[in-house]
């Protein structure tokens, strides 16, 4: 039976394989997230590596009462990206604290990372296309372009709470479709 992300995160403290499963499940999406936002694939891989190192470091601090695991993971990714753009260098503090060996990433790895990211992006795009127009616009503006709800509401000529609702329903529908594809 497929374990939820939250269950995997909680299990990380006593089961390394739970963390491995979480990594395998979300690496493509994390790579796709970074690949859309940085110019070079090696930087995307570097950011993804540090993201998962931080996830591992802080897994015990994850509180399921405050939200789901995936937004928590992507909040880490987003913070790392912001820091990297500001500092013009990708942090590796978590990997160092965890005592991880440096890893060589060659051209073949970059090609594979691109493939993984493309696959994740393609699946997400297909799921997004499956939404109706109103939800699709709201999800695109909020999740992909990361715009404020107020700003989106002005553009879409509706209230921010309507935008929130559309994003929430759209994301739920996309999640359901992606989960179904994984099962199928």
């Amino acid at each position: 039976m497929r374990r939820s992300d939250e269950a995997l995160l909680r299990a990380t403290a006593h089961d390394a394989q739970a963390f491995a499963a979480l990594y395998d499940r979300h690496l493509p999406a994390v790579l796709a997230y970074f690949r859309r936002r940085v110019a070079e694939p090696e930087v995307a891989v570097d950011l993804a590596a540090e993201t998962f190192a931080r996830v591992l470091e802080h897994a015990a601090a994850f509180d399921p009462g405050r939200g789901r695991a995936l937004p928590w993971l992507f909040a880490i990714a987003r913070n790392l990206l912001t820091d990297a753009l500001r500092e013009r260098a990708v942090a590796d503090a978590a990997r160092r604290r965890l005592g991880m060996e440096p890893v060589e990433v060659g051209d073949a790895d970059l090609a594979r990372a691109e493939e993984l990211a493309d696959g994740a992006a393609r699946r997400a795009t297909a799921a997004l296309r499956g939404l109706d127009r109103a939800k699709r616009d709201a999800v695109w503006a909020r999740i992909v372009l990361e715009r404020d709800y107020e700003e989106i509401a002005r553009d879409l000529e509706c209230s921010p709470s309507v935008v929130r609702q559309r994003v929430s329903r759209g994301v739920r529908a996309m999640r359901a479709q992606l989960a179904e594809e994984e099962r199928g």
Binding site: A20, G106, D109
Partner: protein
């Protein structure tokens, strides 16, 4: 096994260590920094304390574990003539190697001083010259700069790791900035600048030459399959 698989293994091993903190750590293979030589000037121009530190590669290549004691040696001041003599002796010891077999740009007719232009970009103009034993680069700053720096390596070495010069601690730019330029053997498409195993910058190679301004800190330069550890910037 690919680097992405290595990355997964490292992360899972780190998770394992957190689950069982007292579990024996798997042996670490030193990568990159295996020997660090630090020279500290104690005073005057002739007395130099030479501290040779043999340390396994630590987690932080900039923070090595110091395990050896200090040896004091007397430094002998060298004149320019001495340095030239040593260079000639080193060149004479190097095996005869046809650099033209490893650097295609050498097949082109030479210009002044036997120099062939390898690459010219906003960072530098890189020229290459080869004797029967050595491969040399001469790097002029920018597109029009007249000052140059150069370096020669035995061709048997240059055909593996390239021949290059790097400058640091310039007045402009971030403190970690280094300008690296040189030549690499045929078949190398890009020179990688790596920190803690992760590529920080990639310099494309044109006609065996590359010239890059690297703002990201790095500890290793990768040319083909050869990794050359470089010291950190210290201004």
């Amino acid at each position: 096994m690919s680097g992405l698989d290595d990355l997964r293994d490292e992360l899972v091993a780190a998770a394992e260590r957190r689950v069982r903190p007292h579990a024996r750590r798997r042996p670490r293979v030193p990568r990159g920094l295996a020997l660090l030589a630090a020279v500290a000037v104690l005073g005057g121009s002739t007395a130099t304390a030479l501290t040779v530190v043999s340390a396994p590669a630590p987690d932080d290549p900039y923070d090595p574990v110091i395990t050896a004691g200090t040896v004091t040696a007397k430094a002998i001041p060298m004149t320019r003539a001495d340095r030239e003599r040593m260079k000639r002796e080193r060149a004479a010891r190097a095996p005869r190697t046809d650099a033209g077999r490893s650097f295609a740009v050498l097949a082109e007719p030479p210009g002044e001083d036997g120099l062939r232009l390898a690459v010219a970009n906003a960072t530098a103009r890189v020229f290459v010259r080869a004797t029967d034993r050595e491969t040399c680069v001469r790097v002029f700053a920018g597109r029009r700069g007249k000052g140059w720096s150069g370096s020669c390596s035995p061709t048997v070495v240059a055909r593996e790791r390239g021949a290059f010069v790097f400058t640091q601690c310039g007045k402009a730019g971030p403190p970690q900035r280094r300008v690296v330029a040189g030549v690499v053997p045929d078949g190398v498409g890009a020179v990688l600048f790596v920190r803690a195993g992760v590529v920080q910058h990639r310099a494309p190679v044109t006609r065996n030459g590359f010239a890059a301004t690297v703002d990201e800190p790095f500890d290793t330069m990768v040319v083909g399959a050869t990794r050359t550890p470089l010291p950190p910037v210290s201004c």
